[in-house]
């Protein structure tokens, strides 16, 4: 039985969370163990001390509270003075009446319009007229079939290269986007511009499908930087298929995660990770108590890009920050970083261990706890950076024991 187990047992005993049998066993044990009895009594003493002073209400408290209430319930605007429940009732009744009547009126109006339409069709379509329309439709079908037959015959006798041109000549001037194929168009097999896109480009109008075309066609050789090395099989750097840039192994992992995410439905946190992906090395295996990703990276002095992170370089400021322990009520620090992506720890003399970071997610903030450590334990004389997703939550660094309050 460890010290921790004993403490837990004492706590459960004091808080009445033991079963009858466990409680009896504990009492028996306390009776036979003076040291244990002393510790239990010490805990009870704390409770008694906290309850001993009734903390009397100060004189005049209720008068002051009443005045404050009266002040807070004073009407602040003029309309409060003319407000009455009767007027409010009348207004509500009016609104209710309007809500009932107005949709009815609208429905009647629409209904009458639709009714008039059906009357038109019904009266015009006399038996003679219907017969005439049917004959006309049959004639049109016959003409279309004849044209189709002619086209088939022409295809058989005309050279293949001329086919599109002939087809364009017969095609009506209106656009037919469903006949276009991005792949064939990019590959240069479409020699004509049946949809008028080329004309639009000449006029400088952007093509809505340009991005899609480039994705389908893949990166063109001419677009790649000349100095770019060819990745080999043994190289852990990979190509980003979307941006054509070299990635670190961490980024490559993210690209793979991106591919996985496309295959499976994304959890809520994914968009944030995506935002991180293009900038930081990111270790997806390291997560905080609530699943928030955390990465600690040792930093050498001067390696932090200016303007990207909040940096505290002054050792005096760091000492002050370091001294803000939870033992002091006014030291409960809260920092709202403008970018809220990274927290830098120490310019070198900061005695906190960068690899012992606890992360808690509370209602409206992320709490980052650092474990204290000797300066010699720091992974880098430049301190370290703690990365986590950008987001609306504020970051609240608390320097304490480094132990989690969570189970």
């Amino acid at each position: 039985v460890t010290q921790h187990d004993i403490e837990e047992k004492i706590q459960d005993f004091l808080d009445g969370r033991l079963s009858e049998a466990e409680r009896a066993a504990m009492e028996e044990r306390i009776a036979g163990d003076p040291e244990l009895a002393r510790r239990v009594e010490a805990h009870r003493d704390i409770g008694r001390a906290l309850r001993s002073d009734p903390a009397e209400i100060p004189p005049g408290f209720y008068a002051r509270a009443r005045a404050r209430f009266e002040e807070s319930s004073k009407p602040r605007f003029g309309w409060h003075r003319v407000f009455s429940w009767e007027a409010a009732g009348l207004a509500a009744a009016g609104l209710l009446l309007a809500a009932i009547l107005v949709p009815g009126l609208v429905r009647d109006r629409i209904g009458s319009r639709e009714a008039s339409r059906s009357i038109d069709y019904g009266t015009v379509a006399s038996p003679e007229a219907t017969k005439e329309i049917k004959e006309k439709e049959d004639d049109e079908t016959e003409i279309e079939e004849q044209v189709r037959l002619e086209e088939t015959v022409e295809k058989a006798v005309t050279p293949a290269a001329e086919e599109p041109r002939e087809k364009v000549a017969r095609t009506p001037k209106r656009r037919q986007p469903e006949k276009r194929s991005f792949a064939t168009e990019v590959a240069g097999t479409t020699a004509v511009d049946p949809d008028g896109y080329a004309e639009e480009e000449k006029r400088g109008e952007p093509r809505a499908d340009a991005e899609m075309v480039s994705k389908v066609a893949g990166p063109q050789e001419a677009d790649l930087p000349a100095s770019r090395p060819t990745p080999s099989a043994g190289d852990d750097k990979k190509e980003d298929p979307l941006e054509g840039k070299l990635l670190s192994s961490g980024d490559a992992m993210l690209v793979e995660e991106e591919a996985q995410r496309v295959k499976s439905p994304a959890p809520l946190i994914e968009p944030r990770r995506e935002r991180l992906a293009t900038r930081f090395f990111y270790d997806g295996s390291k997560k905080g108590a609530h699943g928030y990703p955390v990465t600690t990276v040792p930093l050498a002095p001067g390696t932090v890009p200016a303007g990207t992170f909040q940096v505290i370089e002054d050792p005096a400021a760091w000492r002050r920050f370091r001294d803000t322990t939870p033992e002091e009520i006014d030291s409960y620090s809260s920092i709202d970083f403008s970018r809220e992506r990274v927290l830098l720890v120490g310019p070198g003399d900061f005695p906190l261990a960068c690899d012992k970071v606890n992360l808690f997610f509370e209602v409206d903030r992320i709490l980052v706890g650092f474990a204290p450590a000797g300066a010699e334990d720091l992974p880098s004389p430049g301190g370290c950076a703690v990365f986590f997703p950008a987001g609306p939550e504020s970051i609240e660094p608390a320097i304490g024991t480094g132990r989690s309050d969570e189970q």
Partner: protein
């Protein structure tokens, strides 16, 4: 494990001495919503002793405790739309008070640290530029009082981490169950348990290892 004999809050059992009866409370709350100061004072007299004691233990400062309780009453009572029993009202007010206290703590700390960053971290320990003065903490009278054992414990409690402090006080002073504390603080019961253990551990350290 609930003490009711000496409690004077709404969860208590006072009805023969002019205090508000259970079935009258809903009516009083309605009147408060309409701005009735008499109703407000009557309810305030019922609930304030308990709230004040908690506020004193949280803040360690009489003036701040008074302000905290008054603000809780003025804001929370008119906002209560439905009365579901005195114990629920009591829980509601305790939750409102602890949230208000934590919000104050945060905004106070935030303004201090932001000004610290705005000064570029160049201020030194002595000039105080860009940094709010430290919290005055317990008054001189209370420091003298601290000679007593109970006062020492109370003083030590004000130095606990805020979450642990709230949890410990709700347990030891209010004698609430873990489930009730979890409901007030909005954390799982397991977290209540671990926070209590940490608080007691920290308290023992603060008191020199011999609580």
């Amino acid at each position: 494990m609930t003490r009711t004999g000496e409690q004077t809050g709404l969860a208590g059992v006072r009805s023969s001495d002019g205090a508000i009866r259970e079935n009258e409370t809903a009516d009083f709350l309605k009147r408060i919503r309409r701005g009735d100061a008499d109703a407000f004072e009557a309810v305030a007299r019922e609930v304030s002793p308990r709230l004040f004691r908690l506020a004193m233990r949280l803040s360690g400062n009489r003036e701040e405790a008074e302000d905290l309780v008054q603000e809780t009453l003025v804001r929370a009572l008119p906002a209560l739309r439905r009365f579901e029993g005195r114990s629920r009202l009591s829980t509601y007010l305790v939750r409102a008070l602890t949230n208000l206290w934590k919000n104050r703590l945060r905004s106070r700390a935030r303004s201090r640290v932001v000004s610290w960053f705005q000064s570029g971290g160049r201020e030194n320990e002595h000039d105080g530029a860009g940094i709010d003065p430290p919290d005055p903490g317990p008054s001189a009278d209370e420091r003298i009082e601290a000679e007593g054992r109970a006062a020492q414990v109370r003083l030590a409690v004000t130095r606990l981490h805020p979450d642990r402090r709230v949890t410990l006080l709700l347990r030891e002073v209010e004698e609430l169950s873990y489930e009730e504390i979890a409901s007030i603080t909005g954390v799982p019961v397991g977290t209540v348990r671990s926070r209590l253990a940490r608080a007691r551990d920290d308290l023992r350290s603060l008191l020199g290892g011999k609580p």
